[in-house]
């Protein structure tokens, strides 16, 4: 069988941050308790002239620049998001033109809550493996929305991750992928509604945990692997506590999951969340190491992946605009500015 895997990766996180204290102060909540609970001290906020498209382009350009290949060889672009700036007019078309890829390219915007980006990865893996394209670019990009005062407001952040998939120059070879899907109304947003609604504690056990566990177990069962076979594991990160808990439930150690927890610094970037976690591992991983990644998207479903890092990885680890760069460059804003940046002032 043809080998297929990740050939490059790129990340983007906007510069603005708001702290849990700032938000808690507005709603009279206890910031210390919230921080203990969520383990997210601050979250990233989009600049006034940014949206899902601009973030997607920045992460895609970072992936292409790191790869140093010809973007015209890319045969597909899929952008997963639940906050595309246009309801009709695909983000993927703009990303394609801004790279620029050639015109002969498959492109679509995807929506599956927080796992639309990994759904795009699976599509690219399939297309490359079946020789329909040489390279495919999967992007998860979100400007997460949360109703003011909703618990989500403390974590709903912004960011983008791009994964370039191909069969040549693989840095992390795909060993297998496994998905579970069920009709689970844990979190939703109706057409035209500004903010999502959710089922509070119902988003946990039957939703996030059940699907993440089922997909991960299914994947390991398929490959006959155990948690101890992996050096790193990545889960979707609605907060920092959930991925730590699900890792524990599945028998992974804290050390295996820790590196992936980008959420600790910037909050929940929805479609980009698990992909940014994967990118952070790719920035640090060594040849021969194994990575397990399981995304989760409300509604609900999980995509699990197993990767084997190759000796090509070292060539793609020295890049100035990595996650560390974006985590470090910050401008703290108060809630007043936050309302302007999030477009809450009508």
């Amino acid at each position: 069988m043809n080998k297929v895997g990740i050939v490059s990766y790129g990340s983007y996180i906007p510069k603005y941050r708001i702290s849990v204290e700032e938000i808690a102060h507005i709603w009279g909540e206890d910031a210390t308790e919230l921080k203990n609970q969520l383990q997210v001290p601050k979250k990233s906020v989009l600049g006034l002239d940014e949206d899902v498209v601009t973030m997607a382009v920045e992460s895609a350009r970072n992936a292409v620049n790191l790869w140093d290949g010809d973007p015209k060889l890319i045969g597909a672009i899929y952008v997963g998001s639940e906050s595309h700036p246009y309801a009709v007019k695909p983000t993927a078309t703009i990303v394609s033109e801004a790279l620029p890829t050639g015109k002969e390219i498959m492109a679509a915007d995807l929506e599956f809550a927080c796992k639309a980006g990994t759904a795009g990865m699976q599509m690219c893996f399939g297309l490359v493996k079946s020789d329909m394209i040489n390279y495919g670019l999967a992007i998860g990009s979100d400007d997460s929305q949360a109703k003011p005062s909703d618990p989500l407001e403390y974590t709903a952040a912004a960011g983008s991750a791009a994964i370039l998939i191909g069969r040549e120059g693989i840095i992390a070879e795909l060993e297998g992928t496994y998905s579970v899907t069920s009709d689970t109304p844990d979190f939703w947003r109706r057409e035209g509604a500004t903010y999502p609604s959710h089922g509070q504690r119902f988003t946990g056990k039957p939703a996030y945990f059940q699907h993440s566990i089922d997909a991960t177990k299914g994947m390991m069962n398929q490959l006959q692997t155990n948690p101890s076979d992996y050096d790193y594991v990545v889960f979707h990160q609605p907060n920092t506590k959930f991925p730590l808990s699900v890792a524990k439930m599945l028998g992974f150690t804290k050390e295996q999951v820790e590196l992936s927890l980008v959420c600790r610094h910037i909050g929940n970037t929805y479609s980009a969340s698990s992909m940014l976690g994967l990118n952070r591992i790719l920035e640090k991983a060594s040849s021969g190491e194994r990575i397990l990644m399981t995304s989760y998207g409300s509604g609900a479903g999980s995509d699990s992946f197993s990767f084997m890092v190759t000796d090509k990885i070292e060539e793609l680890q020295a890049y100035p605009f990595d996650i560390e760069y974006y985590i470090k460059r910050t401008i703290d804003i108060n809630y007043g500015l936050y309302t302007r940046y999030k477009g809450l002032l009508k």
Partner: protein, 129 residues
């Protein structure tokens, strides 16, 4: 913001395109069919350098309608590392922190929004590295 104009200009705005003259070897911005230095039309598309330094800068607090959403913002004339000069917004920064000669890199941002229902115009801006 008319769709044909947005469409016609998109590549130049997204990719910051100029020309490189095959006859006199000079480069120029923006994209043109003829070389402004020697007049030949034997020119090829050229993508500007992505990094450069600030030559002049100011801030804009009274902006046009389509750009007011972003005001106040910083603006400068940037000399790119290939020697070409362009005008651009310098974003994600505080005006008082800007300095002449400061290094900047090109980023992809929203230039203008046509209200809530119209098109979004994207293009290049600059940010400090």
């Amino acid at each position: 913001m008319e769709p044909p104009k947005i469409w016609r200009e998109k590549r130049q705005r997204y990719l910051a395109l100029g020309i490189s003259c095959k006859k006199c070897g000079k480069r120029s911005f923006p994209l043109s069919e003829y070389c402004p230095y020697c007049g030949t039309n034997d020119v090829e598309e050229y993508r500007l350098a992505e990094t450069g330094k600030i030559l002049y800068f100011t801030n804009v607090s009274m902006a046009s309608n389509e750009m007011a959403f972003n005001a106040p913002y910083c603006l400068g004339i940037i000399e790119l590392n290939d020697g070409i000069k362009v005008t651009g917004q310098i974003i994600d920064c505080d005006y008082k922190d800007l300095k002449n000669g400061m290094e900047v890199k090109m980023v992809f941002r929203i230039l203008a929004r046509d209200g809530h229902e119209g098109l979004i115009k994207y293009g290049f801006k600059f940010t400090s590295i």
